[in-house]
């Protein structure tokens, strides 16, 4: 149990997917103009990430890895089959499909949640934070529970970063910024300062 708690803390604070690995910058820069939409996108990312990382783990384990198909079908012809070169294509297809599916299910059963997530669900397909978490899961060869915990943690890390950025940009509206630095420029510099603050966590031993 302790191990999983430290994995969550690590993926939120120490190795924040946005501030340490730069994943999901595009939507981060575009959406953080407004606090309400940031909270919406944050929720959607946590939700989809917790879903797709374990889903892709199953696909990797039972379809793509060497001998994965043989291990559960026991068909001789499939022995030694290694489909891992199809990894990228399958992962992005899984993400696109599950985002579509989640959208339809939420729309049917919880219209209020659907309205609060709004346009962000389809947008998430091309959010690098989602695909990135899946690829990190493969590179670090997590097991199923680790994959789920990591998916949740890194989604939460993204949500935390985008909401705090939106709050800062709200305050920034009334400050006097040089013309060329307005908008994108000052946001980059501020993200640098936030990420500097998060560096302080890197000394924490868990």
């Amino acid at each position: 149990m302790e191990y999983y708690l430290s994995l969550i803390a690590k993926s939120i604070f120490i190795e924040n997917i946005l501030l340490a690995y730069f994943l999901g910058m595009c939507s981060f820069l575009a959406i953080s103009k407004n606090i309400d939409t940031s909270i919406g996108l944050g929720k959607a990312v946590v939700f989809v990430n917790t879903l797709t990382v374990p889903l892709n783990w199953f696909i990797l384990k039972y379809l793509l890895e060497k001998n994965a198909l043989y291990n559960w079908t026991k068909i001789e012809a499939l022995q030694g089959v290694d489909l891992s070169y199809l990894g990228l294509l399958t992962f992005i297809a899984t993400i696109a499909a599950s985002v579509q599916l989640v959208e339809m299910v939420i729309d049917r059963y919880s219209p209020s949640l659907y309205n609060s997530l709004g346009v962000f669900l389809p947008l998430i397909t091309v959010n690098c934070a989602i695909l990135g978490s899946t690829i990190f899961m493969r590179e670090r060869s997590y097991n199923l529970v680790e994959a789920t915990v990591f998916g949740f943690g890194s989604g939460l890390g993204f949500a935390l970063a985008i909401v705090s950025m939106a709050a800062i940009r709200y305050k920034l509206r009334y400050s006097n910024i040089p013309d060329g630095l307005k908008g994108l420029g000052i946001t980059m510099v501020l993200t640098g300062l936030i990420s500097l603050a998060y560096l302080a966590f890197s000394g924490v031993q868990l």
Partner: protein, 197 residues
């Protein structure tokens, strides 16, 4: 729009990173050293030019509602080619770049140019647009990587410039990347007199 303008605009005035705000993730992540930035530029040029050409060739046959999925399939196949090629011929580099080659799939430049330009224009202009955008992207990458490697390790392309005891961890880590890119955006926007409202 003539071909020359299509090629030239994304280089400076309509640069994908500083102006269109596309593809920021990789611009920050692979700029620790110049060598990585150069490889990334080549990889993106290959993917972007080919995806623009392919999308433009089949633009009249793709049904409108499934176009995103079609683009995704084309792009991820091209990225898989680059990924496997680097693993085979430059294993160390591909380890250093780790997930960021794979993440070209979700690099907004590729998707954005396919949607905004290649799906509406003929083959040759689409190719030029891809080339111009990837070179504009590469230019920013090289500038950021130049400063980060020089001030981080004191080297340029692994040649020692500042004394070998020099070492500035802040530049090689995330905050340095954000601040340097922020300053370059400021410079580019001041030079082109662009103000964001």
């Amino acid at each position: 729009m003539n071909n020359k303008k299509i090629f030239q605009d994304p280089l400076i005035s309509d640069n994908p990173i500083t102006r269109q705000v596309l593809g920021i993730c990789s611009a920050l992540a692979v700029t620790v050293k110049l060598e990585q930035a150069i490889v990334m530029t080549f990889a993106l040029t290959f993917v972007l030019c080919l995806s623009n050409v392919i999308v433009s060739m089949i633009r009249n046959f793709i049904p409108n509602n499934i176009r995103i999925i079609v683009y995704m399939t084309i792009i991820s196949s091209l990225v898989a080619i680059v990924d496997l090629f680097l693993k085979a011929y430059a294993y160390d580099l591909s380890k250093e770049l780790s997930v960021f080659i794979a993440l070209i799939i979700t690099n907004c430049i590729v998707m954005g140019r396919a949607e905004a330009f290649a799906s509406k224009n003929a083959l040759y202009p689409s190719f030029l647009d891809g080339l111009g955008n990837s070179l504009g992207y590469g230019a920013i990458l090289l500038i950021v990587a130049f400063f980060r490697e020089l001030f981080g390790f004191g080297t340029i392309l692994d040649f020692q410039i500042i004394s070998s005891t020099y070492n500035n961890g802040l530049m090689t880590m995330a905050p340095g990347a954000f601040v340097i890119l922020g300053l370059i955006i400021w410079l580019q926007r001041t030079l082109t007199k662009y103000v964001e409202e």
